[in-house]
């Protein structure tokens, strides 16, 4: 699957998971992500494995429920009460302890579920697409920033490897393990990481990277001006409803300025690509549909055409379910269809090489 198609899918998952507060739809989205995760290739240099991310996400979920309990909350169905000090009002209504309601817990669980969905979607993306492939689809204006991030992401596993080696060396010196040796691990790892980055920066400089002309003055000024314009537009839109045409005009100006900056940056940075990744027609179609659905989710929810939200407060009602909402949530599974239709061999083609590269004990990669 093409990198852009993966990005479109992540956008769709984010749009649906963050607009709906209905546990049915969120549950469907979560199942869709898990299905895609099972079928997705693991060729990217995933910084954290999907399994680790799953554990982390579940942990966060539990912690957020715990915090909801400590904070106490409002609602009719009180499950139990935690004794706690009364906090003065002027602290902004902060609460510690107090009654814990079923409504509060359910609301917190729904919020946690949405965050879990987004986290896992990024996990799948991270595992399926290497940062180098993401870099290839980055617009020219963001190429430098993108390259720095990409190189940084690939240095991170190297630092993890450093910590492993330093731990071994400490054992070879007879040092006991444990938390007390943390400075002895962290200091050399940080220094080693910095030295490695300096060497890489030097090598890239020697290969002609990083010293391209900064671009003309006007486009850069316009690029910088777009941010205050867009902020102004947002402020006017929310606080002065009667002046909304001004906000629309400011938005348009901001977008135009940004577009001009991007266009001229692409022209002045005359870089080329050896391998531009061709995008299959299916990927183009599906990406388009994803983006359309993402926009649809946000717009219909805001306009109230399809009710995606649910509030447990007000008597803990049973969440509603509509065919439109369910279909929208289910559409997050489209990469699964796309991946399942490909022969398994092509999905896994590069997996052995990737596994070999990640084997820390593989002698070839030990410098």
């Amino acid at each position: 699957m093409h990198t852009l198609a993966w990005m479109a899918w992540v956008a769709l998952v984010m749009a649906v998971a963050l607009t709906t507060t209905n546990p049915y739809y969120l549950g469907v989205v979560l199942l869709c992500i898990l299905l895609v995760a099972v079928l997705a290739p693991r060729t990217g240099s995933a910084v954290a494995g999907f399994r680790a991310l799953l554990i982390l996400g579940s942990g966060l979920f539990v912690v957020s429920l715990g915090i909801a309990v400590i904070n106490g909350n409002y609602g009719g169905h009180i499950l139990f009460t935690i004794p706690g000090p009364s906090v003065p009002d002027w602290l902004g209504g902060l609460r510690l302890g107090g009654p814990v309601s079923a409504e509060g817990l359910v609301a917190e669980a729904i919020r946690g579920l949405a965050i879990l969905c987004v986290l896992l979607a990024f996990g799948v993306f991270n595992g399926a697409v290497s940062p180098h492939r993401v870099l290839r689809t980055t617009p020219a204006a963001l190429f430098h920033a993108g390259l720095v991030v990409t190189v940084g992401l690939t240095l991170l596993p190297a630092s993890v490897e450093d910590v492993r080696r330093i731990r071994e060396m400490r054992a070879l010196r007879g040092a006991p393990g444990g938390w007390r040796s943390l400075p002895a691990l962290v200091v050399p790892a940080v220094i080693g990481g910095l030295e490695r980055s300096m060497r890489l920066a030097e090598a890239m400089e020697a290969r002609g990277y990083g010293s391209s002309p900064a671009g003309a003055r006007l486009p850069r000024m316009l690029g910088a001006a777009s941010a205050p314009l867009l902020l102004l537009a947002a402020a006017v839109w929310s606080y002065y409803p009667q002046a909304r045409p001004i906000a629309i005009a400011a938005t348009a100006l901001g977008v135009l300025a940004l577009a001009y900056w991007g266009w001229s940056a692409a022209r002045s940075r005359r870089t080329t690509r050896l391998n531009s990744e061709p995008m299959a027609r299916t990927d183009v179609t599906m990406s388009g549909i994803s983006v359309a659905l993402a926009v649809a989710a946000i717009v219909t929810n805001a306009a109230g055409w399809v009710n995606l939200s649910y509030s447990p407060f007000g008597g803990l009602p049973w969440p509603p379910f509509s065919l439109a909402g369910g279909t929208l949530a289910l559409s997050c599974a489209w990469p699964a269809l796309r991946l399942a239709s490909q022969p398994a061999a092509s999905r896994e083609a590069t997996a052995p090489a990737a596994l070999q590269a990640m084997d820390p004990a593989h002698e070839v990669i030990q410098p």
């Binding site: 060396m169 010196r173 007879g174 080693g192 020697a206 002609g208 990277y209 050896l274 590269a357 070839v364």
Partner: protein, 529 residues
């Protein structure tokens, strides 16, 4: 003249209030177009700095103070933007893994061209030509982390040559590579030099392969540069290949650069060797039986069995990836063998790494990355603290260890401020400060200069004479011949030979030294009478 230095002096940025230390001191030299030059000299003598002056990294990237004038193809590299310089001067750094930007070989080669905006068809043409010129067509779609050291070094060269520079600089390109890989890298460089008329400058410590093929030698020492021919270099350099060393001792003229050239002199006046007696073999210190280690599907070590007695120093040789590091890791307890046993002095080895290394100390590759104390003394102190739990530990013990490793003058220095060679010595000392009877050293002479290698050989011989034993994994046959009493060869995880040094280093042995090929029975120049 393609490169000219005039009264060039340079100092790296110094801390405020400190006097600048001149890394290059009044250099005035010119290098002709199409030269194949070698930069020789001790570590930290200024070789790397001189290379970096040529492509402008010094002073543009590193800062510091520079006086004098440099001219590279009519440009001043200290002012020309890196993007411009990269098209004229390519540089390959010491560690190929530290300079890789992309994920696959093809993309890595294309990176520089993409930065310069080279059109796609032209890029394809150049990538194809380079892959075939360097003999790495089969690596095209491979991921960089899966390559061997020699392959990575050749990919790094291809990546730099993609911009079609007229000058190629290499900083110790063969120091990390096994003998076969080093031969391939140098053969590639020679071919490129001849076919493309490339000017090549190589900074390197291992001279035996390079001295016969280069046309100019620049001796760089304490910031001073002297230009000479390879023959003059064979006479004048402080550290030279063993065959030049022998020629010097015998007063041969003109000094031979290769074993073949030296044969003439030996044919005229045959030489005899004085046999060296190693220390007598004592009791069995380490016994390895049927050791097998697997990483997933891959068998890294297959049924390795041997014993090590007091007084022995074993050189462990074999290509990159043949299982040398794995063998050490298994002995030290860092990996658990699939089957097989390790015994220390007749008893089964203890389980934990800490207890095992109390008897059999292991110095891994790049041990200096683990240094973190403010002073050298602090590093030694820590090791002794861990090792002597319960026993009275005094200043005398630390001073003794510092003295044993020749570190007394550096005791209060910060390890991070030391030269690479000194850092390496500190790191070895911290791993072995408790004087375990058996030492395992993984490539300790990598990137070391002549004096450092000689120092290590002395240390190993003294350790063996005092009733200890050691195994040294190395690619450097010539320096191994100075200390080894026995040679074990590994190939694809299997012990393929286990021979006494007299047989292994001999002309008919598996790892002949230069001197042994000339004088039967001798291993190094000192053996010849």
């Amino acid at each position: 003249m393609t490169i000219t230095f005039e009264r060039l002096s340079y100092a790296y940025p110094a801390e405020a209030g400190m006097a600048p230390v001149w890394a290059l001191d009044d250099v005035g030299t010119a290098i002709a177009e199409g030269s194949f030059g070698l930069l020789a000299g001790p570590s930290a003598g200024g070789k790397s700095t001189l290379l970096r002056v040529v492509n402008g990294l010094v002073p543009q990237f590193h800062g510091g103070r520079m006086t004098g004038r440099v001219d590279v193809q009519g440009l001043d590299p200290s002012r020309t933007p890196a993007r411009e310089m990269a098209r004229r001067v390519g540089m390959v750094f010491q560690e190929p893994e530290a300079q890789a930007v992309a994920e696959t070989v093809e993309d890595e080669i294309a990176f520089g061209m993409e930065q310069q905006g080279v059109a796609q068809p032209e890029m394809r043409r150049r990538v194809d030509a380079l892959l075939s010129d360097l003999g790495i067509e089969d690596l095209r779609y491979r991921r960089l982390p899966t390559l061997s050291g020699g392959e990575r070094q050749r990919v790094a060269i291809a990546a730099v040559l993609a911009l079609e520079p007229a000058i190629l600089l290499l900083d110790e390109p063969t120091s990390q590579v096994d003998p076969a890989g080093a031969d391939a890298v140098i053969a590639t460089l020679l071919r490129l030099h001849e076919r493309r008329g490339l000017t090549v400058l190589i900074a390197e410590h291992r001279l035996e392969r390079l001295l016969p093929v280069v046309d100019t030698v620049l001796e760089v020492e304490s910031g001073k540069v002297a230009v000479m021919t390879p023959r003059e270099a064979a006479r004048r350099l402080r550290a030279v290949p063993a065959v030049c060393e022998l020629g010097r001792r015998r007063g041969w003229s003109p000094p031979p650069l290769t074993v073949e050239e030296a044969r003439r002199f030996v044919h005229d006046a045959p030489l005899r060797a004085q046999l060296r007696e190693g220390p007598p073999r004592g009791r069995l210190l380490l016994d390895v039986a049927g050791l097998t280690v697997t990483y997933g599907e891959r068998i890294a070590l297959r049924e390795a069995s041997f014993g090590l007695c007091a007084g022995e120093v074993v050189a462990l040789v074999g290509a990159n990836g043949s299982g040398k590091t794995t063998l050490f890791r298994a002995i030290a307890g860092l990996v658990h063998p699939a089957h097989g046993t390790v015994a220390f002095e007749g008893a089964a080895a203890p389980r934990s790494v800490q207890q095992r290394t109390a008897h059999t100390g292991l110095v891994p590759q790049d041990p200096a990355i683990a240094l973190y104390h403010e002073t050298v003394r602090g590093e030694i102190d820590e090791t002794l603290e861990h090792r002597q739990t319960g026993r009275q530990r005094g200043l005398a013990a630390i001073d003794g260890a510092l003295g044993a490793w020749d570190l007394s003058p550096l005791a209060s220095a910060n390890p991070r401020d030391l030269s690479v060679g000194q850092q390496q010595r500190v790191a070895v000392a911290t791993m072995l400060a408790h004087e375990p009877p058996v030492w395992l050293l993984d490539e300790p002479t990598r990137g070391a200069d002549g004096p450092a290698k000689r120092w290590l050989a002395e240390r190993l011989r003294a350790h063996a004479a005092a009733g200890g034993a050691a195994i040294v994994a190395t690619h450097d046959i010539e320096s191994a011949a100075r200390y080894a009493t026995r040679v074990i060869g590994l190939d694809a995880g299997q012990v393929v030979f286990d021979l006494p040094a007299s047989t292994a280093f001999a002309a008919a042995g598996p790892v002949p030294t230069q001197v042994a090929r000339l004088v039967p029975g001798a291993r190094v120049a000192e053996d010849v009478i």
